[in-house]
Symmetry: C2
Subunit: 189 residues, 2 copies
């Protein structure tokens, strides 16, 4: 149960005392999942925020033709979840599963709400996380309009150099929003 990667991540933004950190971790559950195992199903209410200790998760939605659109890959050190469902308490549109065997730290939304009052500094931590994520998705929303498939592929490669090496092409296609057939053609000129 090595939690230091999450500890580190928190301490990068805020200072917590030993007691506060212990309190926080008393609500954190560790879970190991195998490749392809689900942590959230489409249509379910999301009750947990998920932090990847090792391995990699992904969140994605599926359209009426069965095509997957991957919203996020979460390698080691990233948070992931269905923010819409987590914020609103309504059933979400995303599924979350494991890309590889992974170890996850999870914290329940209800516990987190309690922790916000006991450790107000956590508001800073999650505010900064949300702001950084916001910057990323704002630019991705624009890029998905103005860049060609090839340019989106190149950005993916520079942004996730370690992922590009070990992901099946199909999943890269689902992230940049093209069909697997088209990505294949593109890569062979």
């Amino acid at each position: 149960m090595d939690q230091h990667i999450l500890t580190e991540n928190i301490l990068k933004q805020i200072d917590l005392t030993k007691e506060e950190m212990d309190l926080f971790f008393s609500f954190v559950k560790i879970k190991k999942v195998k490749k392809k195992q689900f942590l959230l199903l489409e249509g379910d209410v999301s009750r947990y925020a998920l932090f990847v200790v090792s391995g990699c998760l992904r969140s994605y939605c599926v359209d009426e033709n069965g095509y997957q659109y991957i919203q996020q890959f979460a390698p080691e050190g990233w948070w992931i979840g269905d923010m819409y469902s987590l914020v609103t308490g309504k059933p979400g549109y995303l599924a979350v599963d494991a890309v590889f065997d992974s170890e996850i730290a999870m914290i329940a939304k209800t516990d987190l709400n309690r922790l916000y009052t006991e450790i107000p500094k956590l508001n800073i931590y999650f505010r900064v996380l949300a702001e950084n994520a916001l910057v990323y998705y704002q630019s991705r929303a624009m890029e998905n309009l103005r860049l060609t498939a090839k340019e989106r592929y190149e950005r993916f490669c520079t942004r996730y150099p370690s992922l590009i090496a070990c992901l099946p092409q199909k999943q890269v296609a689902a992230y940049i929003g093209v069909t697997p057939e088209f990505l294949s053609k593109m890569l062979n000129q």
Copy 2:
């Protein structure tokens, strides 16, 4: 200088005492801008968060061919700015200008940072704002990949019924990411 719309907006998320509210507003500057007047230029460092008291602002970027891509319309009651530049302190890629004559409440990033320590509850307010915005841009990033131009147009109409009535078509095109010519053809079947 009617600030009650911002007061209301804040009180929807957190309780502030009269003193805290006064302190907050002591750092708020009010500014009136004419249609087309700029509040931020592409390449500048963004030093202010902007709240629209009346009227409407927009943020957008421009590609190498001169095409505009509008990231956000901010009618009355919305915050707007270049989050990337605001967070990182680096020169941004967005311009912000007024769609109509508008009245803006602005707060400097440096003042806001000071306020975070004096009124920690503000972290909750801006955390919640960032989370809600994140939910929106995450879904927009996905929609920009999986929806056709027509579907994106329809979403725009349902999301901004009041804007669709008074915006030039060209700006709607720049928001949904199509050429003005194509939007025109689409609307005339």
